[in-house]
């Protein structure tokens, strides 16, 4: 409960938009349903600023919302944006590190500059100057991206302020809570501040396992299981991109990936009655997609066997790389380069690398998907990484990058 009474959810397009993009209707919006017309307006703003494709990627935007919320010690939004980043494929550990200190989160230099910019604008607006804008330009951000970064900081401040004003409780238990004395404490928390624990410190950094987080697709899955076939379309739209990514990396061509994507969704639909919710629906779906892709790959006559072992690989081209190789190429160029070189890897190494480094499956899950032992999987991933490194030397070595 927040400070104002909760209203039952009306059937409203804006709420559907929220659900589609966050996986749920966040309580901070539920708390404003006394005036659903105002919620509609806010969702329009979100739709335009955050959900629509822009100059910054959605992950970059969510990172900005996360660091500003962290700067404001707003546990509610730090949890919501951390969770959203997880849906977007960012590991929870990484977003948690960004929450604590983005400079220690192993981000590329331009992303660090972007988040430095956001944190400063949020926390020290009076000392913010044109030099800060210039520093983003030096990190290769264009003016449209800078504008979006400023708007994201503003959006985060607006949302944080609304949540604090309404006293909305988290939608799920945050992975990391800030010292609550600075964020509208409840009566119990006020007591805790007045009477600190025996160590005299506030206990922060509370963690929970992923399993205890609710599945954002739970309701849609339940509707499909109850015979609402049309609801499955929402799942196709929501997870189609992720499934496609898994498949194109395994199969190598967009055409084959699109065919396999259809099969994967059909299999998921047919086997939904067996889905017991022990994992998230999205995890289950991606496993189906990976198996669909692997079956197709194995059925190819000319493919380099996924199962045969081959001789040792020794790195040959040992040249020092530049400190920040990403600076020499645009994001699009890097993406194209990675896709081109990954696709040149023999399938057995490509698939192992895809599952671990792009799909970010655990070593155990990736080994199980490929029917390998953990050491066998690790050997393939390492070989894939070393081969990929070798192919990238001409682009990123000190000699090569300077020619680009």
């Amino acid at each position: 409960m927040g400070f104002l009474p909760e209203i039952e959810l009306p059937d409203r397009e804006s709420l559907k938009t929220l659900k589609r993009n966050f996986g749920l209707v966040p309580k901070v919006y539920r708390a404003q349903l006394l005036r659903p017309d105002l919620v509609d307006g806010e969702v329009q703003l979100l739709d335009r600023l955050l959900f629509a494709k822009g100059a910054l990627s959605r992950v970059q935007k969510e990172f900005i919302l996360l660091v500003v919320s962290a700067e404001n010690n707003n546990s509610y939004f730090a949890a919501l944006h951390g969770q959203t980043l997880q849906f977007l494929g960012v590991k929870p550990d990484k977003s948690q590190q960004v929450t604590i200190d983005h400079r220690e989160a192993n981000l590329p230099e331009p992303e660090i500059a972007l988040l430095d910019f956001a944190r400063k604008l949020a926390s020290q607006p009076r000392s913010f100057t044109e030099l800060d804008v210039e520093s983003l330009r030096k990190s290769n951000f264009n003016d449209e991206q800078i504008l979006e970064a400023v708007l994201m900081v503003g959006l985060a401040q607006l949302l944080n302020c609304i949540q604090m004003g309404l006293g909305t409780e988290p939608d799920f238990k945050p992975r990391l809570t800030f010292p609550l004395k600075e964020v509208n404490p409840t009566a119990a928390e006020v007591r805790q501040i007045i009477e600190p624990d025996s160590a005299g410190e506030f206990v922060s950094g509370e963690f929970m396992s992923d399993e205890s987080l609710s599945d954002p697709d739970f309701e849609i899955v339940a509707r499909v299981k109850n015979g609402d076939t049309d609801a499955f379309e929402e799942l196709v739209r929501k997870h189609g991109r992720r499934v496609y990514r898994s498949l194109v990396g395994i199969l190598g061509t967009p055409e084959e990936a699109e065919d396999a994507l259809q099969d994967a969704f059909l299999k998921a639909f047919q086997h939904l009655p067996n889905f017991e919710g022990r994992s998230r629906f999205s995890t289950w779906l991606v496993r189906i997609a990976i198996n669909t892709g692997l079956q197709r790959l194995r059925s190819r006559k000319s493919f380099d066997s996924l199962d045969e072992e081959s001789e040792d690989f020794r790195p040959r081209n040992i040249q020092a790389w530049t400190d920040s190789p990403e600076e020499y190429y645009s994001r699009e160029e890097l993406r194209g380069l990675v896709e081109k070189e990954v696709m040149k890897l023999p399938p057995k190494y490509r698939v192992a690398l895809m599952l671990r480094d792009l799909e970010e499956l655990s070593t155990e899950d990736a080994a199980a998907a490929l029917g390998l032992t953990v050491p066998g999987l690790k050997a393939r991933v390492l070989r894939g990484r070393l081969m990929l490194r070798e192919s990238m030397v001409p682009y990123f070595s000190k000699a090569g990058a300077s020619k680009s």
Binding site: E111, D230, R245, F269, R389
Partner: protein, 88 residues
């Protein structure tokens, strides 16, 4: 002292931070005096960073409407897939 070959064998675990403290210390001690392995470690770490941050293989924009329609048409028409192929 460990060899360069041993270092390469353990490189994957080092990159994944999935390594016992004792072995990590041995690898770091090797790195301190082996320039080739320093370069290899640094460039492989950067490769991994570029791969994970590149957004590669993502579908540009939302899934195309014709594709969504095809999937939903096949589902509504009761298209069958052999159960043995699917995961449960």
């Amino acid at each position: 002292m460990i060899s360069c070959r041993d270092f390469i064998t353990e490189l994957g675990n080092l990159l994944d931070d999935d390594i016992a403290l004792e072995i990590r210390e041995q690898l770091e001690s090797h790195l301190a005096h082996c320039n080739s392995c320093q370069v290899l470690y640094d460039s492989t770490r950067k490769t991994l960073r570029i791969v994970t941050e590149s957004g590669s293989f993502e579908y540009a924009g939302p899934i195309a409407e014709p594709l969504v329609s095809k999937i939903m048409d096949r589902i509504r028409n009761g298209c069958e897939i052999a159960p043995k192929e699917a995961e449960s």
